[in-house]
């Protein structure tokens, strides 16, 4: 689920109308355009034309115009073309697409995403091969056919909705059937994921991207993003990417040990900055050796400008998943410009702030949960006693929580987490002397608690933040555990969970207390709501979902760059080119593992018995490499 930051600024209607009247020839009525287009479409794809004719364009599809009268379409806030120069943007896209098509000797292109057709027209002018357009949203077809005269384009392309996308089986470059799947990036960034799913399906079948990315995930030294780095790494690995986590929490003590120098605050900050500089240099050095396609930094990862520039020089795509409140943690102002992609858990205001300082591609990417870790547990009675209560809260002692949670002191109530020092009034319910709670213990607590309070943090409210937007990881983690929660209202919550049926939302601390009392007496209701929340979370809110969206967004905008990077072939790649005993030897190894001579030789030397000719040749190559290429390889 990702939402682009590129929203269209609607022009002043009066100014627009007068300029249109002055500059443009009279436009034919939209109905006439649609009818003509449908007739042309019907001649090529009657079934599709029929579906489009009966399609209803929902209000989220918004048509506007440029100052020159060029139509613009946005869907759920995602603009499907450049807001000022859709033709120029389409031309730029088409030029890149033709380069890719030519480089691979493709005779056929499948374009996922129609938009209003600017990019497809530009492609049709430059590419002589067949062009199939796969637009799975009939409403987009209708909008496009209503807004623009596409008869010439429809005569040139093979229009479709992707369901019958042509034969995309992998073909050698230059073969008559060689096909490339091209993405219309804005379409892929639509929140509903319709186009992204189609694109990925086609990519997988065609093998035309062959993208198994090499991703370096960089964690912060400490803080809430740290476990997220680990979850993200696991998810990326499960998605089949070659992933490595640089867990910089190993340096947490080093940061703390700076206190040894007993420096004044400003100097201490400088020392911390220098330490982070060293860590950033270490990340850059790792990237030089690991040669990742993507470096994914989590919020607070110690990457300064120098480190980011060094990473950029390796050719890696730099992505930041900023899972913090952009208003509270403002360091992004110094570094955002040095990222290629910034993913955030907030939207409009956050996008606007980021856009003011950087040209990175921005996308909304909310938090998530890890089903392997955040899951229902059958607790022993001992654990139930140790971790359970009627009401509990797990988290840090921010101001609004210290004030709001007093309301629960008359309950069977426990508070778990760090940074509660000085909250004398809560001392009685504070567990483990304000020690940090591990993720594993948090899951036990969630499972053992009847009503989990989930109050988002604020340093300056007394309870609920009325302007609160982002949704914290705890929301998803509680849902994943199948644990009942009361969560404070957040503007971005409704599109993630249905209030009332999947989550119980409170607008104030008082309301949260009343809800707690209500649901403590209704265990069945709690179970049903929690069950629906878990189902929704499993279906849409795992880290695999997030990482899939993240990768898709990166691929959509940087596919050329990723494809241009050399990568070692897999065993399957090499095996596919061979026959006989050599192929059998290669197929002994995991298909998707990168081919390495060392791996082959290890397999040979670990096996008893006679050495085959193929194995002996690999031994020869390995020894040649050791003898003659040792220094050259490093």
């Amino acid at each position: 689920m990702a939402r682009t930051a590129r929203s269209v600024a609607l022009p002043d209607p009066i100014a627009l109308a007068s300029s249109l009247h002055r500059l443009l020839p009279p436009m034919r009525a939209n109905e006439a355009i649609f009818a003509d287009n449908c007739a042309a479409l019907g001649a090529r794809a009657p079934a599709l034309a029929s579906r489009i004719a009966s399609a209803v364009v929902p209000p989220q599809h918004v048509l506007t115009w440029t100052g020159d009268g060029m139509p613009l379409l946005s869907v759920n806030g995602v603009a499907l073309q450049h807001p000022a120069d859709p033709c120029g943007d389409g031309t730029r896209w088409a030029r890149g697409a033709v380069e890719r098509l030519t480089a691979h000797g493709a005779r056929r292109a499948i374009v996922v995403g129609l938009g209003l057709g600017y990019h497809v027209e530009a492609l049709a002018q430059r590419f002589a091969g067949a062009i199939e357009v796969a637009e799975p949203d009939p409403a987009v077809w209708r909008s496009a056919l209503t807004a623009r005269d596409l008869r010439a384009l429809l005569a040139r392309i093979e229009p479709g909705d992707g369901s019958g996308a042509g034969d995309v089986a992998a073909q050698p470059d230059g073969a008559p059937g060689a096909v490339r799947v091209l993405a219309h990036a804005p379409s892929l960034l639509r929140a509903d994921g319709l186009h992204r799913a189609l694109y990925e399906r086609l990519i997988a079948r065609s093998g035309s991207s062959g993208l198994r990315l090499r991703i370096l995930v960089v964690s912060p030294i400490a803080g809430g993003s740290l476990p997220i780095a680990r979850y993200a790494t696991r998810a990326l690995a499960r998605l089949g990417h070659e992933t490595r986590l640089l867990d910089l929490s190993a340096f947490h003590n080093s940061l703390n040990e700076l206190a040894l120098f007993d420096a004044k605050a400003a100097r201490r900050a400088e020392l911390e900055s220098r330490l982070c500089g060293v860590l950033g240099a270490g990340v850059a050095a790792t990237a030089e050796a690991f040669a990742p396609d993507v470096v994914l930094a989590l919020a607070q990862a110690p990457l300064d400008v120098a480190a980011l520039d060094a990473l950029g020089r390796t050719g890696a795509i730099r992505a930041l998943w900023f899972v913090e409140d952009f208003r509270r943690f403002t360091y992004w102002q110094q570094v955002a410009a040095h990222y290629d992609h910034v993913f955030t858990i907030q939207t409009d205001d956050c996008f606007a702030a980021l856009r003011a300082v950087c040209d990175a591609r921005l996308a909304y990417l909310p938090c998530a949960f890890d089903p392997d870790e955040h899951r229902p547990l059958a607790l022993s009675s001992e654990d139930q006693r140790a971790y359970g209560s009627d009401v509990s809260f797990v988290g840090a002692g921010y101001r609004n929580r210290r004030l709001a949670l007093r309301r629960f002191l008359d309950q069977d109530f426990r508070i778990w987490g760090s940074d509660w020092e000085g909250a004398a009034e809560l001392e009685r319910v504070l567990q483990r002397s304000s020690a940090r709670i591990s993720s594993e213990d948090a899951v036990r607590i969630f499972n053992a608690t009847r009503v989990n309070l989930n109050l988002h943090s604020s340093t300056y409210h007394d309870g609920v933040d009325p302007q609160g937007d982002f949704v914290n990881p705890r929301t998803f983690e509680l849902a994943g555990c199948g644990a009942f929660q009361l969560v404070d209202q957040r503007s971005l919550l409704p599109e993630l969970f249905a209030a009332g049926s999947e989550l119980t939302v409170a607008r104030s601390a008082g309301e949260m207390r009343a809800q707690a009392q209500h649901f403590l007496e209704r265990p069945d209701e709690r179970a049903q709501i929690a069950g629906r929340a878990r189902a929704r979370a499993l279906a849409e809110h795992t880290y695999e979902h997030r990482m899939q969206a993240l990768v898709a967004a990166i691929v959509a905008s940087d596919q050329d760059r990723l494809l241009a990077r050399s990568r070692p072939p897999t065993f399957a790649d090499l095996a596919a080119r061979e026959i006989g005993p050599l192929r059998e030897l290669l197929e002994r190894h995991p298909a998707r593992a990168p081919f390495a001579l060392d791996t082959v030789v290890r397999g040979i030397t670990e096996r008893a018995g006679d050495v085959s000719e193929e194995e002996a040749i690999f031994l020869f190559l390995h020894q040649f490499q050791e003898l003659y290429l040792g220094e050259a390889r490093t």
Binding site: I604, V611, A616, I617, Q623, L627, Y628, A632
Partner: protein, 553 residues
Amino acid sequence: MSARRILIVNLTRLGDLLQTSPTVAGLRALHPDAEITLLAEKNFAEVCEAIPGVDRVHRIDLDHLGHLLLAGGSRVGEAFHFVRNTVAELRAGRFDLALNFSSSRMSAVLLGLLDIPDVRGWSMTSDGFRAIQTPWARLFATLCLNRRVAGFNLVDCYRGVAGCLSTATPGLSFTVSDAARARVATRLDAAGIAAGARVIALQLGASRAVRRWPIESFARLAHELAGDGKRIVLVGGGGERALAAELLQACGSCATPLVDLCGQTSIQELGALLERCALLVTGDTGPMHMAAATRTPIVGLFFGPALPFDTGPYGTDHVVLHAGVSCAPCDHAVHCLDPFCRRTITAELVASVVRARLAADWSSLAEIGTALAARAPVRLYRTGFDARGLFDCPVLGTVLARPEDELRRAYRATWLTLLEGVPLPGARSTGLVDVAPFAALAELARLGTELTARLDRLVIDAARSLDAVQRVGREIEVLDRAIGEHGRVHPDVAVLTQMFAFEKETMPGEDLAGLTKESARLYRDLCRSADCMQALLGGSGAVGEVDHASIRQ
């Protein structure tokens, strides 16, 4: 039995290929009707084609293979097929005898792939293990690990592997073409060097920096020799051009102008040039071996890992200066941070040696050697051949004997006795070497013969006496480990224990009875070799002088 198609594998460089030439001559003498093929790296094919007796040169482009592997990706598949095609081409040669002079795992794998019935040198068994075939090849591998006491020149080891030690030794051979001679003559004329002029060539470079004599030393030498009126020519490959420029600058103006031909001669032209030279001053380099092949007198500068005994110029009346410092020879794999040994060979010393050699003044050279021994760790050696036609380089002058000299002499005699049946010479003990470790080794070997005798009695009915067989087998394992450790604790016997280890790993077959008999033989050989060494080293006495060894003229 006479071979019909012989393959010699030597994937090394100029010098090593030239050092193969006596073996080729010996093979030709033993197998007059055989076709002899030399497998060499493409860049050195020109050398092989000029070695008399070589019928075919099979080139392998290792540069191309390297590029494929470095490119990685799908090009590794191309590399695989490159090797497969090379193997197929070599198999098509239907060789019946192969000699592997490239002592590397890579070449061993290659020989294992070629299905040649008689392989000598490094090879690979069917189940992927190293096998060093023939005793001389195992001895060569052993001496490479114990160079301080290596008693044979590499060339003679090659000849031993080929089984042609009994054939006459022509020395190194390289056929220089008339066209190359003409080109060189023109070049030297243009430089004002007339035919008949006494030209001294200086080979500036070496394969590794640690083997390179300092340029400032070469510069002082050039200055001195030019002052004598000699014409100096700088030789070497393209990689030495920078060194030549450095030398010319350091030299300044000389009495006679220096001629820089670095990187300007082909291999043929290098040979032609060296033919015109009265003498070559060089480190242990390929051009040194070329000079040996063209019978150009050599003054060799040996230090660092270079040793005159195993890689000295294979010919007669060459002079080698060797910096015999306590850490010599250093291992090829180490990176020395202070190669002080190079500085022990001064330009003034080399100049005096060059002058004496040019005059064939062996008395002066002996005096220089004697004087050197008193004040420096440098020794002078005169190359030649012993009565059996094997390379020898006795020291020039009167010097104090050293334990390694004794060991080298003793080992040489021992192996000639064991491998070639030469009668063991009489003892010439100086008491410099402790013989107790050899005695202890002999005892261990006798224990081995006892164990194998016991095993031999048991294997007749192995099925019934399986436990006993296994017990004796374990004892033999323990004994072999003890033998190996004995060699590590007492390096003087390491040659014997290492040779024993190589022999053991190459025992053929899996039949227990056969292996038992073979093991017994190996223990007997070990015992005999230890006894030989004791006999040659045994006795006591004051430290004495070492005479010139007899030199076959």
